[in-house]
Amino acid sequence: MKKRGIFLRKAKDGLIRIFSAMTILLAIGVMVWILYTVICKGAAIMSFGFLTHASKPFGIAAGGVANAILGSLLITLGAAIIAIPPAVCAGIYLAEFSTYPKLSGVLRFCANVMMGIPSVLVGLFVYMLMVATMGHFSGLSASVALAIIMFPVIMRTTEDMLLMIPYTLRESALALGMTKTRTTLAVVCRSAKNGLLTGILLALSRVSGETAPLLFTALFSDSWPTGYFSEPTANLPVLITEYATNSPFESMQRAGWGAALVVTILVLCSNLGVRIFFREKKSGQ
C-alpha cells in the first residue's frame, strides 16, 4: 500500500466533511429559496376574496380560487375512498395471508415497480379507461387516476407496518380461538393503527399535489365543482399550470402564484402535521 502522511489524510478528510456539510446546506437552501419565492409572490395576492370567490374566465381580473380548492379536495377525497380499502386489504394479504411466497414476491415487485411508473402515464391510462369510454372529462376519473397512484404506496406501507407487529401477539389471539380475520383486524391492525394512518395520510398528501394525471382527466373549469361525476372539475394544480403558462396577463400569473401558495401550504402542512402528530403520540406511549 502507498504510504501517505497523516497530515494529508486528515486534511482530505476535513475537506470532504466541509464539502458534505455544504451540499446539504445547498439542498436545504434551494428548498428555502423555492418556499420563499412562493410565499412572497403568493402572499401579495392573498385575500379573503381570493380564497372565497370562484375563478373567472381568461382576461377577467379579480377572480378567486375557491372552486379549485373545493375541487381539489373533492378529487383527493374521492381518490382516498377508492384507493384505501383495497390497498389496505392488499397489504394485509401480503403480510398475513400469503400462502404462495412466489406469488407474493411477484405482487410485491409489481407494486414497487408501479410506484415508479410516471404519473403522466397513469393519466393516459385513465383517459382511455374512463374519459374516452364515457365521453366526458370528470372529477371522478381524476380520483381514479390518483387512486391508482396511491394504491401501491399504501399497499407496501400497510405490509411493512403489519410485519413490524410481533408474532407472539397473533399467536396469543389465535390461541384464544379467534379466527384469522378477527386476529388480523382486531389485534394486528389495531396495534399497527398509527403506522397505517401515517402511511395513508402521507400518500394522500403527496398525491394531492399531482398535476400530470389531472391534465388528462379532470381538466379545468371556471365553475364550482358541481359536476364531479360528469364534467371537467376545477382543481388547483391545473389552474396553476394554465395561469402560469398559457396566460399573457400579469394578473393571472399573480393569481397562479396565489394558488401555488395555497397548494404548497396544504401539502406541506398536512405532511409535516402527520409526521409531528404521530411521532409525538408514539413517543408518549
Binding site: 486528515k10 482530505k12 478528510d13 458534505s20 451540499t23 446539504i24 439542498a27 436545504i28 434551494v30 428548498m31 429559496w33 423555492i34 418556499l35 419565492t37 412562493v38 383495497p86 390497498a87 386489504c89 392488499a90 394479504y93 401480503l94 398475513e96 395471508f97 407474493s104 405482487l107 415487485f109 409489481c110 407494486a111 414497487n112 415497480v113 408501479m114 415508479g116 411508473i117 410516471p118 403522466v120 402515464l121 393516459l124 391510462f125 379507461l129 394504491f151 399497499m155 379466527t179 380475520t181 399535489g209 398535476t211 400530470a212 391534465l215 394544480p237 396553476i240 399550470t241 402560469a244 403558462t245 397562479g256 397548494v263 404548497t264 401539502v267 406541506l268 405532511n271 409535516l272 409526521r275
Partner: protein, 303 residues
Amino acid sequence: MFNADGIFQRVCMVTAMLAGVLMLVFFIQLGISSQAVWREFGLGFIFSTDWNPVTNSYGALPAVVGTLITTFIALLLALPLSFFAALYLVDAKPCVGEVLGHGIDLLAAIPSVIYGMWGLFVLAPLMQKYVQPFLAETLCLKSIAWFGDEYNGFGLMTAGLILAVMILPYICAIMRDVFKMTPAMLKESAYGVGCTKWETVKDIVLRYGIRGILGGVFIGLGRALGETMAVLFVIGNLMTMPKSLFSGATTIASTLANNFAEADGMQKSALFALGLILLVMSFGIQAIAQYYLHVTGKRRGEK
C-alpha cells in the same frame, strides 16, 4: 356454512392481485392504443426525427433524446450532491441530522408543479442573464457546439437543473438508509486500524452498500425520466432534435402533457406510442432498481 374468514382472505387476495393486473393492463392498453402507429411506421418510429401533424408523419427520436439528455444532466448533478448530503446526514449529531433529514423529506413533498413555476419565473431568467453567458463566454465553451445557441433561459440545461433538485431528496433518502445498514462492527474495525472517516466511507461503507446505492440511483433515474410538470414549464417544447444544451427541446412526458389535448387520429396514436416507450423505459429501470435493492436487503437479512 357461511365462512366469513374464508371470504375475507379471498377478498384480500383479489385486491392484492390488482397490483399485478394493473401493471399488465397498462402495457396492454398502451399497446392497443398505439397500434396504428406501429403498423404505419414500424420500429422506424423510434428512430425518426420527423414530427409533423400536417403531413401526418411522426417520429419519437427528438423526445427520446431530450428525455435521455435531461435525465443525464440531472443525475450528473444530483448524484454526487446526494451522496455527500447522505454522508453528512448519517454522521451528523442526532438533533441536527433529524432537522435536516426532515428538510430533505419536505423537499421531496413539494408538488412538481411548484418546481415548474419556480423554474419558469425564477430559474429561467437567471439562466438567461447569468449562467448561460457565463458558461459560453467567460469559460469560452462557446466553440463547443453543445453550448452554442442563443441564451433564452429555456432548454435542456434548465430542465436538467430542476430535475436534479427534484430527484436529490429521493436518492439522498435511499443512500442514507443504505449507509445506516453498514454493520457498526465493520466501521469500528476500520476506525480501529486508524482510518479517517472518509477512508472508512470509501473503503467500507461504499463497498458494503454499493448495490443499495445503485438501487437508489435507478430510483432517481426513474423519477427523472417520467417527471412531467417541472420539465414542461422550462424545456421550451420544441419537437426538433436539440442542437445544444441551451436550445429548446422536449421530453416524452412533457410532449404527452403538451400535445394530448389537441391531438386526434394518428397523432394521438403516436402520443400513445411515446407513452409505451416511456413505460418500457421506466419499467426496465425500476426492475433493475428493485433487483439491486432486493439484493442489499437480502444481505442484511443474512448477517
